[in-house]
Amino acid sequence: MKSIRWILALKVLIAGLAIAGAVAASSGIAKTPASAATEVKIDNFSFAPQTVTVPVGTTVHWTNRDDIPHTVVSQDMSFKSKALDTDEDFTYTFSKPGTYDYFCSLHPKMTAKVVVQ
């Protein structure tokens, strides 16, 4: 009888740990940037979102959804895409913290930034 209780208790404990683990895992995912947060869409002559805040090591992925080609160029020239036609994309991995202001070198009124923490 005792041993059965022990086994039941152990099962409950394991189940509990599993749930806790699952919660921890999901909260872990929430803390690191969800893949959606590192996506920047270029459309109708603007970058969206205009500011993305990401941890060091994150890769940001820009996709041009506009009918017009655009570029992604950081003001300090640390990254520079070629001209991206419709549906072409560009990625850059941020290995150092800082604020990276960037713009489209063809339409310089298009400005945005990546904040790396």
Binding site: D66, A83, Y102, S105, H107, P108, K109, T111
Partner: protein, 323 residues
């Protein structure tokens, strides 16, 4: 150009001619596939090629006539105009239908959509059907992608300075082709740069003030709409070199719609695109191509509404004979 300057140019009624910002925005209209320009008595008059019927022999008479086309965007194939080849061909047909053969054709940039050799080839091929082989180009931002304009300058920049700018004289008129699509700064507008400005100052120094001057460049040399980058950062400096001349005309493209404005001795024109229309300033969230039903596209590229110009003397200067 500072914000204050921009405000000054657009909002203030310098000439007391009733052209305030609202009036000015109203005067924009979709225009034709190109513009026929006649220099008569030192004054340049411009006619939309979509109103060919109104360009009679009397209108075409002058010391010099030429055609401006712009923004052919060869390679563009999206909904706003899936067939930019055909619309450029229509422009050439209209040039061929003119009663007076133009001396030359100016293309004010965005020849190509993506700076691809095949796109440039196609435009050159289509323009071979034009009545003159003398075609002068200045680059748009779409023509200098990925190579800082190397290919464009090699192909079209014969006789130009290393930066791609140049000038020439034709029948007593001085023409200046400028490049304002290079080295653009974040948050800024079009850009001429110090070197080009210094060259231009020297270039016009020897001219008598009675010489008619025509300046052409891709991005407008006056601030049409700051929020969309439709202006040139250091254009005020360039225009200051031209103050002493009696007749100055500035021809631009880039904004895919016609606009005209008179500021002192300078008349500004922008040409329509042969490819697709763009919205009037501030009437859309962004300046992207306007999508219209296929049956309407050519009419949008080909319709001019000049009614507003009539009776407005400051603007009627350029279109007075249309009425």
């Amino acid at each position: 150009m500072s914000d204050a300057n921009q405000r000054d140019e657009i909002l203030h009624d310098h000439n007391h001619d009733g052209v305030d910002r609202r009036g000015f925005l109203k005067c924009m209209a979709w225009a034709g596939t190109g513009a026929f320009c006649v220099m008569k008595g030192g004054v340049l008059k411009s006619y939309s090629l979509s109103r060919l019927a109104e360009i009679g022999e009397r209108e075409a008479e002058g010391e010099l006539s030429f055609v401006q086309i712009s923004d052919s965007h060869m390679g563009f194939n999206k909904a706003a105009n899936p067939d930019v080849v055909s619309t450029l061909k229509v422009a050439v047909d209209r040039i061929n239908a003119l009663s007076t053969k133009p001396e030359f054709i100016l293309h004010t940039g965005d020849v190509s959509h993506l700076s691809k050799p095949a796109e440039f080839d196609t435009v050159e091929q289509i323009l071979k059907s034009a009545p003159t082989g003398d075609i002068l180009y200045v680059p748009g931002e779409h023509d200098v992608l990925n190579d800082d304009g190397k290919q464009f300058h090699e192909r079209f920049g014969k006789g130009a300075r290393p930066g791609g700018w140049y000038s020439f004289d034709k029948k007593g008129v001085h023409f200046i082709g400028l490049v304002n699509v290079m080295n653009l700064k974040a948050g800024g507008l079009g850009n001429l740069g110090k070197e080009q400005l210094e060259w231009m100052e020297k270039d016009v120094k020897h001219l008598s003030k009675s010489t008619p001057v025509v300046v052409f460049a891709h991005i407008p040399l006056w601030t049409v709409y700051h929020e969309w980058g439709w202006g040139t950062e250091d254009s005020a400096q360039a225009l200051s070199y031209l103050k002493r001349f009696g007749s100055v005309t500035v021809l631009n493209g880039h904004i895919h719609q016609t606009m005209q404005k008179v500021e002192g001795n300078i008349t500004f024109h922008t040409a329509a695109s042969t490819a697709f229309p763009q919205p009037k300033p501030g009437t859309a969230p962004g300046p992207g191509p306007m999508k219209v039903p296929a049956e309407q596209l050519r009419s949008l590229l080909g319709v001019t509404d000049v009614n507003y110009l009539r009776g407005r003397h400051a603007l009627a200067v350029v279109d007075s004979t249309l009425g």
